[in-house]
Amino acid sequence: MVDFTLWDILRNLLLAARWTIVLSLVAFVGGGAVGLVLLVVRLGRNRIAESLIAGYVQVFQGTPLLMQLFLLYFGIALFGIDTSPWVAACLALTLYTSAYLTEIWRGCVDAVPRGQWEASASLALSFGQQLSHVVLPQALKIAVPPTVGFLVQVVKGTALASVIGFVELTKAGGMIANVTYEPLLVYGCVALIYFTICFPISLYAGVLERKLHVGQR
């Protein structure tokens, strides 16, 4: 029987937390890139593309992330490709993130007054120029606080990757709880580590939000 000190538990959890952070970053950056592409396509005023993307968003927001993970994990294997939990988790979280971010950002673009589009169109700017020089810079300012806030959602979402066997913080917590027989302590520590990752991000999002609305009070 090996004895585990609190430090042993914490050290191993912190090592596993690296993977939580890596997975969050991959999903956030990948999801941001896909989300941006979807946003631009959506703003291109193509009816079919628009309704397709609306459907995409509805599917990812209307189904459990856990199911999306399972579907990708088993779905990729169906094509005869050998999947690792790592690939499936990255892919599922990227798609999930992209659906949410494209919806958040569309709201921000909609918040830019219509006249801005019309004014830039009357200056003979192309669609791409209108977007990159006039609309997106203004939308970006509004978009930062909710985007940072959504990062918390992504970090918490990575916990579900433990279910398909990806060893991140939650999975490591389960494994350590099984060998130490101290589930209360271990899951308490796991929750605390998630909290120390997420709480500063939440606070920062709140600060950004207040800064943005400082003129309206």
Binding site: G75, V152, G173, G174, L184
Partner: protein, 220 residues
């Protein structure tokens, strides 16, 4: 490579899926009622309570909102027995979902409460209503009306999150899909059907709550 999908072996197990969906809805209904009650109580505390209670409610909200639901569930189901509190999968699921929804509902309802115009409260006080009466009759109904869409969205998020409860062998929808695929090895088909059921449930629950809100909760 050709992909062969066969939904039939999954479809003939439809009673399992139906039963799972019923459990998911049941869990959601109970968590909604209890969670909203916690939300209202904590929102009142955060707006009007004495400062130690206000701080406690704040800590509760932030702790829950900044940790994943699956960790909360595992803490309740695997962790609490070590402290002498043994829970069945059903009670653990309900407890975790209620605590989770309660924290989000607190923030949502509080936003509705603090946007109540000052004059309405003063008018009610001038009519000699007690503090409790002012809250339940004057402040709360319009506050719920203002935040209803946000609250409904959160309830649906909690319902979708309940898929995780299958991991502690709660027999809800995702667990049913898992059971089916363990019988016939049609994993992808089973999960896709279960996912579709979730999608339908999400749409239906949203419709239902939008319909029920003005009729039963806050009045038109």
């Amino acid at each position: 490579m050709r992909v062969a999908l066969d939904f039939w072996p999954v479809l003939i197990q439809w009673p399992l899926l139906l039963e799972g969906a019923a459990w998911t809805l049941g869990l959601t209904a109970v968590a909604t009622l209890l969670g909203s009650a916690i939300g209202i109580a904590c929102a009142w505390t955060r707006a009007n309570g004495p400062w130690p209670l206000r701080a406690a409610a704040g800590v509760y909200v932030e702790l829950i909102r900044n940790t994943p639901f699956i960790v909360q569930l595992f803490f309740v189901f695997f962790g609490l027995p070590a402290a002498g509190i043994k829970l069945t999968p059903l009670t653990a699921s309900i407890l975790a979902m209620t605590i989770n929804l309660g924290a989000y509902a607190t923030e949502i309802i509080r936003a509705g409460i603090i946007s109540t115009p000052r004059g309405q409260i003063e008018a009610a006080e001038s009519l000699a209503l007690s503090r409790l009466q002012v809250f339940t009759h004057i402040v709360l109904p319009p506050a719920l009306k203002r935040v209803w869409p946000a609250l409904v969205s959160q309830i649906i998020i909690v319902m979708l999150g309940s898929a995780v409860c299958g991991q502690i062998s709660m027999e809800e929808l995702s667990h049913a899909a898992n059971l089916i695929q363990s019988r016939n090895f049609r994993a992808f088909e089973a999960y896709i059907l279960a996912t579709l059921v979730y999608l339908v449930l999400a749409v239906l629950v949203r419709r239902l709550l939008y319909w029920a809100g003005p009729r039963f909760v806050f009045g038109r």
